[in-house]
């Protein structure tokens, strides 16, 4: 019962968050100067045409009415029409075909970074304070500290100029996948490696590991059955978010390599000042993030036997 109550409460909170984002996004978009809605012919339009455009978009109604119409549209999955970037096209139909591309890149890099990151972490634990560990630490600091743009550009430059791999993405040419997937993975490789290393270092001296060893379990059994199970719990919380966010694509990488995915779309929409498209994409990201966090919390609940939902006596 407690579990169901918790899940319902958690879902309720997600819905409140989403609604709040909805209101914030809506209000912020109304703050934009109206000129941005006229498209690129601003100076040639007469005053009456301008008014007609605004009226057509429903921007002359009072704010609460506009908000109500916006909500009604959302309920019918009518997300509005693109203004400038793909003038007149419904926003959803611009978006839908792009998801597949982002998904494929995201999934590839997710698998790669999971495998490489955890292996690197284990390698670093085995060679503690020796060369591979130091190199690994240097790598983690570099990736964490330096703005990702800097090393994305370095990878693009080295890959295309010095190793002459084709720069722009082509669907049938597999080598054009290498650079974007590599760039996409670096950040997560570093964070998985750091996490694995830190966790395993802590756990090696934990009491339950000593007990297991005293009972005569082999190192492998201890690792797989005890340490990894424990290490997996916090990762379980992030995994759904990482999976879901593969849909959203990478804002940087997709536009750097001209991948026709969803990430590049937001940048194009911002550059074209396409307000409805921006609004819709921002909402889309918010939905993904809220859903990811919700699933993450639920996944952690399933994975971690220590989490209970009954309040213990005296707990604040």
């Amino acid at each position: 019962m407690e579990i169901i109550k918790y899940i319902l409460g958690r879902i309720g909170r997600s819905i409140i968050s989403l609604f709040l984002v909805l209101v914030i996004v809506f209000l912020l978009m109304r703050l934009l100067p109206v000129e941005t809605y006229y498209g690129d012919r601003t100076d040639r339009l007469s005053e009456t045409t301008k008014q007609a455009i605004l009226k057509d978009l429903g921007l002359l109604d009072p704010i609460p009415v506009q908000f109500w119409n916006y909500l009604k549209g959302l309920a019918r999955f009518d997300l509005g029409k693109s203004l400038t970037y793909y003038a007149g096209k419904p926003v959803w139909s611009i978006m839908a075909p792009k998801i597949g591309y982002s998904l494929r890149f995201g999934a590839a890099s997710l698998v790669i970074s999971f495998v490489l990151g955890i292996s690197l972490g284990i390698l670093m634990v085995r060679t503690k304070e020796k060369l591979p560990d130091r190199l690994g630490n240097g790598f983690i600091i570099f990736v964490d500290a330096v703005p990702s743009m800097v090393y994305y550009l370095a990878i693009q430059f080295i890959g295309t100029k010095l190793m002459s791999i084709g720069m722009l993405y082509k669907e049938n040419n597999f080598t054009t996948w290498i650079l974007p997937v590599l760039s996409l993975s670096l950040g997560s490789i570093a964070s998985y490696a750091m996490w694995t290393r830190r966790y395993m270092m802590d756990q090696v001296n934990a009491d339950y590991v000593k007990l297991a060893r005293a009972k005569g379990l082999t190192d492998k059994q201890i690792m797989v059955k005890h340490v990894l199970r424990n290490a997996f719990t916090p990762m379980a919380q992030n995994l759904p978010s990482s999976i879901i966010f593969t849909i959203s694509g990478s804002l940087y990488i997709e536009s750097l390599y001209s991948i026709p995915g969803t990430g590049g779309l937001l940048i194009n929409a911002i550059q074209a000042q396409d307000n409805t498209l921006v609004q819709m994409l921002v909402m889309f990201y918010a939905v993904l993030s809220v859903a990811g966090m919700l699933l993450g919390d639920l996944a952690m609940m399933v994975c971690d036997p220590r989490i209970t939902f009954t309040k213990k006596g005296g707990a604040r």
Partner: protein, 321 residues
């Protein structure tokens, strides 16, 4: 060590051990250690050579960034230089004796622009991180210390935490006019939340620990409890958060500039310089226009990041002794 040992071995038991008379006043005395938190922190922090070198490097870099315009022979970051032979702009002049880092595509001195850009970006980073840290500490302290507020703040946090920061920053900078103030505002609005959460967790953990209870029972004044017992525990977390936030804000500035929401081109910033360099990087003779600002960004962010980590380690009282 060995000299002392051999000397001690030669001494007889009577020489080594002497009886002391019982002194009732000394039996009652409690020791007050000369432990000073900041002195120990500083000592631990400075004990590693690599840390010292990074620290000196960062101080020199910051000083140079501030003072660079007052050095002799520096050029203006916005002046467009003209080639005296052709009378046209000195476009993409390679690095040399006159222009140390070369000129950019419209003939401005890259060396001067990089330092001017570093000043702008560091201003954004330091102002926004400082103010969001202050907000975070105040809210976090209230959240952790006032029990009645805990539930309310936690619910608010859960709602806010669901909104992706990058998206929120993008939205704010999209709606507002691009300027230094806008960027600071956008960073500040999203940064304090994590800080507040950290502080709250720490305060809840520390508040009712036995040593605080003991201090209170012994009649230690509240001011001393805060300064000697609570603050040292929080300093390490605050420093870590500040140190990780500064590279984060710099990265955010680079990112926002890339998607076209950064500062106007007239104001040099590290984001602008990297973006300008990116446009010409595939042209091998102009790649230096990306490499120089990128290296500066990397050096600054790594220095802040690693120093912050080291300082967080050093300021944790458990690592003193």
């Amino acid at each position: 060590m060995s000299k002392v040992m051999t000397k001690m071995n030669k001494m007889s038991d009577e020489e080594l051990f002497k009886f002391i008379e019982f002194d009732s006043s000394r039996a009652e005395s409690t020791a007050y250690s000369g432990y000073s938190y900041w002195k120990s922190t500083f000592k631990v922090f400075m004990s590693r050579r690599s840390t010292r070198l990074t620290l000196y490097f960062l101080i020199l870099l910051l000083l140079f960034t501030l003072l660079q315009p007052y050095f002799p022979g520096q050029k203006s970051p916005t002046e467009i230089f003209i080639n005296p032979e052709t009378g046209r702009q000195l476009r993409s002049h390679p690095p040399g004796a006159e222009f140390w880092f070369g000129t950019n595509t419209i003939g401005q001195d890259l060396w001067a622009r990089i330092w001017s850009g570093t000043r702008t970006t560091l201003l954004i980073a330091i102002v926004s991180v400082t103010s969001s840290t202050v907000i975070g500490i105040v809210i976090g302290a209230l959240w952790g210390y006032v029990r009645a507020l805990d539930r309310v703040f936690t619910e608010i946090y859960n709602v806010i935490n669901n909104i992706p920061t990058t998206v929120l920053r993008m939205l704010i900078t999209y709606v507002l006019r691009p300027s230094i103030g806008t960027l600071i505002f956008a960073m500040c609005l999203t940064n304090w939340v994590g800080m507040a959460k950290w502080i709250r967790n720490l305060i809840i953990i520390i508040r009712d620990r036995e040593y605080n209870l003991a201090s209170r029972c012994l009649g230690t004044p509240t001011r001393r409890v805060i300064v000697k017992n609570l603050l040292p525990q929080i300093v390490s977390v605050v420093m870590l958060d500040v140190a990780l936030s500064i590279p984060g804000v710099i990265g955010s500035e680079v990112f926002l500039t890339y998607i076209g929401l950064g500062l106007p081109v007239e104001t040099p910033s590290l984001g602008n310089l990297i973006d300008e360099g990116r446009r010409v990087m595939m042209n091998l003779s102009q790649t230096y226009q990306l490499v120089f600002p990128a290296v500066v960004v990397a050096l600054i962010t790594i220095a802040f990041y690693s120093l912050g980590n080291k300082f967080a380690d050093a300021s944790d009282p458990r690592n003193h002794v």
